[in-house]
Every structure is written in structure tokens, then in C-alpha cells.
Symmetry: C2
Subunit: 141 residues, 2 copies
Amino acid sequence: MSKAPPPKPTDSELEILHVLWQHGPATVRAINDNLSQRRQAEVGYTTTLKILQLMLDKGLVRRDDADRSHVYRAAVREQETQGLLLDKFVDATFGGSALKLVMQALGSRQTSADELAQIRRLLNDIEIQNSTSTADDDDNA
Amino acid sequence: MSKAPPPKPTDSELEILHVLWQHGPATVRAINDNLSQRRQAEVGYTTTLKILQLMLDKGLVRRDDADRSHVYRAAVREQETQGLLLDKFVDATFGGSALKLVMQALGSRQTSADELAQIRRLLNDIEIQNSTSTADDDDNA
DNA sequence: TTGCAACTACGAAGGCTTTCGTAGCATCTT
DNA sequence: AAGATGCTACGAAAGCCTTCGTAGTTGCAA
């Protein structure tokens, strides 16, 4: 009955999720080391620990505390989480228009020919889907 | 001299900026009415006033206090502000890859044929620019 | 002129996020 | 066995954002 939807991660939490998504399950020590590398400065060990504990409460991570050093792993998927954040961002910043966002992202930025090609490929896929799936749409979120 | 870079607006501030971008200069009363419409609930008048005062401090808006009812107007441009926010968002959420963001935005979302066409047009423009303006480029990212 | 309505300024509370210090406990080493 | 090391739990502080109440002032109307 109660599948509480996973809440929107904060910036620090998102940073930790990136580590977990990239490296898989890890101890606080490993996560903290990784975080310290990414940033300029050292991150306090207990800071990382605390955030992980809060994330556990929120359901953003799970942990295995069989061993003395608990092992944390992401409880939310990368794409889903990014999609969630993207939705909110599009609403807040571009009034809900994903098109505006895409135009802005492509327009005011260096985009390589390779990337442009990838996007074209995606556009083709979408158009094919749009034209073929018109008969059988059975999607509910 | 010190052209202090305009700081990143918060969510509430951004909401107010949207009103100002859309309607031009306005009084607190007008802004507050507009805000109250967008949301479900009434927004406290002094809440709006307070945020505008903070925005004035930050340089996000300017005001004309010739009349008793001060008139506020945006001091930052829509596109620039959106670009700034987009940069931060891409960094935090997609590890700096604008491509991933675009793919996610287009992939997990309903995109109309019309919108797809607009994006294609933009892609064409970009490719033309890439080939004409840099006749002799070997690109390195 | 007196009183009401509208406006600005300001302080403060509450919530959230991030950071860190400390305490307590288990483990390992010598 | 005893001490050092490393780990977790927890409390608390600081900063930021949002919200609102209150006080003081100005302008208008009766």
C-alpha cells in the first residue's frame, strides 16, 4: 500500500548518488574518498556519513550493515532520478516547455558534429515511434 | 569596476522574474496578484514584498520608488538567467553533459511533430554555422 | 480634520541543508 | 590484556529561504 515515492535528492545527495551509480555499492570511507577527489577540498568523513544516514531515511539508498563497515547502494535509478529532477527544473525555469530547454541547451553551447548526429538519430527514432505506435497506445504513467 | 555577477535566483525569485519578464514592470500588488493566480493559494502580500526587497539587494530587480507604490522591473535577462541556471543544472544532474540532458528531455517525454521539426531546424542552423564560421577547425572539446 | 485603507520596512520564526565535534563501541595490534 | 584505530550514532550550529506579523507612514475620503 504505501510505496512512498522517493523524494527529490538535494545537491549533496545527488553527488553521492553519482558516485554510487558509477561505482556500485560502497562503504562510507570509499564514498568519502571519491567525493574528496571530485571537489577541491577534503570532505569531512562524518559529513558524508550523516548525509548517507539521511538518504537512508528518505529511501534514496539502502545499506547492508552485516559487516562493521556498512555498505551503501543506490535505491533509485539514475535515469528515473534525472527525469524527476528534469521535470521540476523545466517547470521552474522554462515554464514547463521542454522545447525551450532543448533550444537553449543546444543554442548557447558548443555542440560537436558527433553529438548533433546522435540527436538526429534520436529524433528519427522518436518520429518512427510516433507514426507506428499511434495504433496501440496503452501507456499510463 | 565591480560588475558583480548577478547571483542565481531561488525558486521564489525565479517565479517573480517570470512575472516581470512576461508583463514588464509592475507594482508589488500586481505581482502578488499574479503569483496568487498561478498557484492554488493566496500568497501573503508581505511575503512577495520581502522577496522583492531581497532581490533588490541582490541586484536581480531594480525599482522606481518615485510613487508611493514602488514599481519593480527585472534587472536580469530571461535568456541569460535561464542559461546560468541550465549550466548549474547540467553540471549537478548530468555531470556536465548537455547531450545527456537533451537525450533525456526528448527521450522520456511526449514530443510533438511540430516540436521535433523546430529542433531539426535548429540542428541544421548549428551545422551550417559549424561548417561556415570555422572553415578550418579541428575541434577539441 | 479625522479616520480608514494601502503601502513599506523590519524582525523573527520555522524548515531544510550542510557541516562538524563528540561519544560510544568494536576491532586489531603489540 | 591494553591501547590505538576506525566506525556509527547523535546533537548542534550556521546559513539560507520562505513566510508572516507588526509597526510606522502616507494619501484619500467623508
